[in-house]
Symmetry: C2
Subunit: 743 residues, 2 copies
């Protein structure tokens, strides 16, 4: 039974891929709407495909170069430091390089396919909105779920496949080493995610800000007006930033967390083996099994995405989410029961079996996921105090709107930090009660409890990701309906869906950052483990004194402090570069749209069609050019710190960089989301002056709120999400390159 349960991993992975294919076919078979809709959709499709083709060509080349460089570096560093007996030097380099490349390819594949479906689902959602709200929700959600399932399934199958190929299913030594060997997979995934999120994020906001400024501000035509040559680029941007970018981000999260948990699992495996448990390797496979159950839960939940026509669409989506969560609890209980109750030492404190404690830790993780869904809603939805406060502040102009939004953004760190803190402390406590001690008497259950909580939290990833991709699909559907002058009833439905989509996009960011911080904590422990593994080998070989293991990081050491300072600085500097990149790319769009207005005078009276493709092309080039500098800074900084200041300093940089990144991303995401919804709050006529008159569109308060919304755009859609990836990239890059940094 305990061995057989591992089979769930490939089974659930393949089932999810097949289900994604089924959903994709279902979406593609749907009605594509009026010819006008098809026309716009085709233009968006072309632009998106053109961007993705160029972007992934660039990323592919960078990834290939990265794989070779990493393979060479690892190969040239003394192999005996790293590997126990099975592989050496050059061989290790090749294995790491290949893992990197497979991770990169899986990440790229899930990004490309998800994005392809999403630009097909948008027009079909618009078409469905002509008939039925529920049908439109289903089309958008199924389109989004294709991404969700592929991302999680490919990460699961990729890690499992590499693990199997590298002997993880074979002899015992390999079982211990394989998780370290497959870290390259996670690094490949982060590497691709970094550039995908940066490039996509810069594209989407440059197009948004650029076409707004040149259209609304300069030419005085409405938003999304077909005369604005930048408007198609804007619609393309939603797809390449939100779908492809966030897909890569969460692919990376799941992969990194799988690997981090497996490395910790190895530590427990050793203990379990020594205590004579029947299936010690259960601890290593446990993270993957839990993930597999999460996938199965999500497949079932997709059939519950249904409701009444007059229902709030958010309720329809929430129904599926709650089904996913409930089934995940069952799956978690089953897997802990089967995998953690065997063996003589399996009884924890108070006579309660170990598996019950671990199950509790996993439930804490699931609860954290639910908590973040509601926290984000509180801070970014118009029904609560923060957004209202910003809307009120808009009455006295843009300055007070910005000040108020900043204060709200800063404030959101409080509940974020406290929630993550409670989740960690409670799950660590539960884990510590499971009775798992290593030979030195350390309570290993503590850290494993936090690992299980992380696993629990990430069980719902596929569903969350589907909700996220729902956002750009409905956003696009709205744009298509507007552009193709669809019926008012259809536009009313797409508007409602678009508003829900904004909320789901915000939720995902809260979820992504919380899971990133939990995963980073695991990976930090994994880094310390890996450094000590190398140091132990060096001590065994007599090239290092005994007693020089990295027990703890000495923050009073100058190098560590400086590295920590650099970690905290990096997140601001990287964000600065990302934000500035949006400005530069937007400038390129402004120049081109201005040129078209000037040289094609027929545009203004609708007698000439603007050259949308050219703007798309220019945006593509600008976004890809501008993503390079922040990307290189992100990759080069940890390497430079490691080479100059050594392995202990890297640990300081890693921890402080992670914490600072999580906090800054929280601020950027939430202030951006709150500004966006404060504008929508005013547009919906909820703001009133002292006499009770509604202050809606075209008032000064609305103009002030538009300023806040524009400021928030690069915060929440470029810098914030790119920081998620940066945080995890820091973890994987230092884990892979640890041998280089040892002093």
């Amino acid at each position: 039974m305990a061995d057989a349960i591992n089979l769930i991993i490939p089974i659930a992975g393949i089932a999810a891929v097949l289900f994604a294919i089924y959903l994709a076919r279902d979406v593609l078979s749907r009605d594509t709407g009026t010819p006008a809709m098809q026309d716009v959709a085709a233009t968006i499709y072309e632009g998106a495909v053109a961007f993705i083709r160029r972007q992934y060509t660039t990323i592919g080349v960078l990834a290939l170069a990265g794989a070779v460089v990493i393979g060479l570096i690892i190969g040239l560093v003394e192999g005996e430091d790293i590997s126990e007996t099975s592989v050496y030097g050059g061989q290790l380099g090749i294995l790491t390089g290949v893992a990197f490349l497979v991770g990169a390819i899986c990440s790229m594949a899930s990004g490309i396919i998800g994005m392809f479906i999403s630009v097909k689902a948008n027009v079909r959602t618009a078409a469905a909105a002509q008939r039925s709200l529920v049908e439109a929700v289903q089309v958008a959600m199924r389109g989004g779920a294709v991404s969700g399932f592929l991302v999680v399934a490919l990460s699961l199958l990729g890690v499992y496949g590499i693990f199997a190929a590298y002997g993880g299913l074979g002899n015992e030594l390999s079982v211990r080493e394989a998780p370290f060997l497959i870290v390259g997979f996670g690094f490949g995934a982060s590497f691709v995610a970094l550039f995908a999120q940066l490039g996509g994020g810069i594209y989407t906001k440059a197009a948004d800000v650029g076409s707004d400024l040149v259209g609304k501000v300069e030419a005085g035509i409405p938003e999304d007006d077909p005369r604005n040559a930048g408007v198609i680029a804007d619609l393309v941007g939603d797809n390449v930033g939100d779908c492809a970018g966030r897909g890569a981000d969460l692919f990376e999260s799941t992969a990194a967390e799988n690997i981090g948990a497996m490395i910790l699992g190895v530590a427990v495996f050793t203990i379990a083996q020594a205590s004579g448990w029947p299936n010690p390797e259960a601890w290593i496979f446990f993270p993957l099994v839990v993930r597999a159950f999460g996938l199965l839960a999500t497949i079932v939940a997709m059939f519950f995405v249904r409701g009444r026509e007059d229902e709030n669409p958010m309720n329809i989506l929430n129904r599926g989410y709650w089904v996913t969560t409930a089934l995940s609890v069952l799956g978690l209980g089953f897997s802990t029961y089967v995998m953690m109750q065997t063996g003589s030492d399996a009884v924890g404190n108070n006579g309660i079996p170990a598996w019950v404690w671990m199950f509790g830790a996993g439930v804490v993780g699931l609860a954290t996921s639910v908590a973040f869904v509601y926290i984000t809603q509180f801070y970014t939805a118009g029904t609560y105090r923060p957004v209202r406060e910003i809307a009120e502040a808009s009455k006295t102009g843009p300055a007070t709107n910005i000040i108020s939004g900043t204060a709200v953004g800063f404030e959101t760190t409080f509940v974020t930090a406290i929630t993550i803190g409670i989740a960690l402390i409670v799950s660590a406590f539960l884990g510590s009660q499971a009775g798992l001690f290593n030979e030195r008497g350390d309570n290993v259950g503590t850290i494993f409890g936090t690992a299980v909580a992380t696993m629990g939290m990430l069980m719902t990833t596929a569903y969350i990701l589907a909700m996220d991709t729902f956002g750009p699909i409905t956003d696009n559907a709205g744009g298509i309906a507007e552009f193709s002058k669809a019926d008012a009833s259809a536009r009313e439905i797409t508007d409602r869906l678009d508003a829900v989509g904004n909320t789901t996009k915000a939720l995902t960011k809260g979820y992504a950052i919380a899971s990133a911080s939990l995963a980073a904590f695991l990976l930090f422990s994994a880094y310390i483990d890996k450094v000590n593994l190398i140091l132990e080998r060096q001590i065994e070989r007599g090239v290092r004194e005994a007693g020089t293991l990295l027990e703890a990081v000495n923050l009073a050491n100058v190098d560590v402090f400086v590295a920590a300072l650099i970690g905290a600085m990096l997140v601001y500097f990287f964000s600065s570069l990302a934000i500035r990149a949006v400005g530069k790319a937007a400038q390129a769009i402004i120049v081109e749209v201005r040129r078209q207005f000037r040289e094609m005078p027929g545009i203004m009276d609708y007698t000439q069609r603007p050259d949308y493709a050219r703007v798309v092309d220019i945006t593509t080039k600008a976004a890809l050019r501008e993503m390079i500098l922040p990307g290189v800074v992100a990759v080069a900084t940890p390497i430079a710190v490691g080479l100059l200041l050594g392995h202990e300093a890297v640990a300081g940089m890693l921890m402080v960089g992670t914490i600072s990144g999580v906090m800054l991303a929280t601020v950027l995401n939430n202030s951006g989301g709150a500004w966006d919804n404060a504008k929508k709050y005013i547009e919906s006529g909820n703001l009133k002056d002292e006499q009770g008159n509604i202050l809606g569109k075209k008032t000064d308060a609305h103009a002030a709120a538009v300023v806040g919304d524009t400021v928030g755009d690069p915060f929440k859609d470029t810098a914030g999400p790119s920081l998620h990836v940066l945080v995890k990239l820091l973890a994987t890059i230092t884990l892979v390159l640890a041998p280089l940094f040892i002093r």
Copy 2:
């Protein structure tokens, strides 16, 4: 000689106090200008005195309560854990409480006296401007220097006096313990500084933002128009925020650094004593001696604040700064030569004496001080790229202005972190060459090198502080000249001085944050030392197992990670509360000014005089009410973390909170300064459109820049400076209360 040099401490301290009295008398004896000027000045004076009286009454009560609580806590925690032999339990509590109170009183005294002179110097500067630029510069600078000298001298005399009173000049045991006993002095200083900076910062920006919004935006009258009832509150605000607030901030910095360095000096003292040096306690007094030479250098430099009428006033100030720096190098060389060259072990690497290495470390500190002066200038002065970039971005509206300013603010963390990092690494390297090893073979010179660098950096504090207070004095002088309708020539001079004052205010913030981060690093080491001192005593007494000292902080420990997360969160949450407090207080002003416009119709046609005093009174009450919540959060969070998570977790919170605070303060100060100067850049007619037309006042670009300036106000004058204090408060509070947190 080596003993005699200690006498320089009381001599320089008393000389500086006498010199401050001389300067104050000189300023007070000057011409007070036209009756109109005297009238406005009297109103400002009254408002400032009223605020200070109420604020310091509140703070005094809080400080008294704080002293009692701390005395009780320390008294009740087992005294034998803390003290070696000389003092016990209750006695220790009393000593700490008294030290706290003396620190608080010295801080309050220097704030009150400095601020009193500053509100007298403003009108005299305006009067002098009717005759001569140089004379105006001298009056303003001498007025500012009263604060500068008092702050540094009182901190020096206070630390020296308490040290002497607590037996530090007596038997050997006390020499080792006294620095720990006087930590209470630093805590008292930080406690007062926190509320002084918060209350003053909230007052100044609430008055500024509130009166601008109700005057310029609602009533459509110009800035600083006498019809606006809030305008006097605005002028009062410059004094209470910038003079009193920053004075308290830097008082705290110098006190904390003195104490931190003395604690480290104790470590070296022990080694020196064991090696049979003739005057081991030189290491303890060294920080105070160096500071004393810095004071003397500044006194001399004051006579070099002179120049030609047609000169850039900044050059006149820079002349004095360079004299201070040059004389400080000499003083540093002399004190290292005398105090660190005796003893048999005093030869470092390469046969170069220890004192030369330490002198080098001190020079690194002085160079860092100079570097920060120029870095801040680059980022916030209109002649360089960053401010121009923001001004250019204003052409496309407030949103791009804000985005660009944010990107600049984030970017400034780069050079800040790198400069601090280089200063620490180089000074640590130089220190490590001095050949100082403790009995365990640790190279103690490393950390002492960074301490000497900090001392070097802070030698110029008095001069920097004088330049800082120069800012609000000239700002007020400008307001008085405007208000009293002085001659155009006088107004031209006060405008030029005001622009220079903006630069000097920005410089001080850069300097303050850099010195705060260096001081925090020292205090962190001091915290670890203190914890280990307590643990050692517990081990000796058999209540704790051997080998449980805090060698390093384990970041992979869940409690430490959570505490670190809370540290990073605290700086954002605290800033959020401070920013929001400005908004609430501003709202109170808006309501009152509106009421006056409504109920006193004669104001608009100048037939009725607005009730300025009432607005001042309301602002005072609002600012004092709003300072309580952020202040309490700042004090309560480290205590709560310590009680709940223990001493090791506190170390994590301390380090990550410090680093995050330094970075966020850098962002807030510099973005605020850059926005301010981008507005001034446009007002000076430096911005041109594509056709080369000047885009000056009353253009859309200027309006956009005004939005940025308003947003930057609470960033750079409330939240940023309050964060400086928070960072140091974290250090002193945990150092004093460490006995409570031991697990």
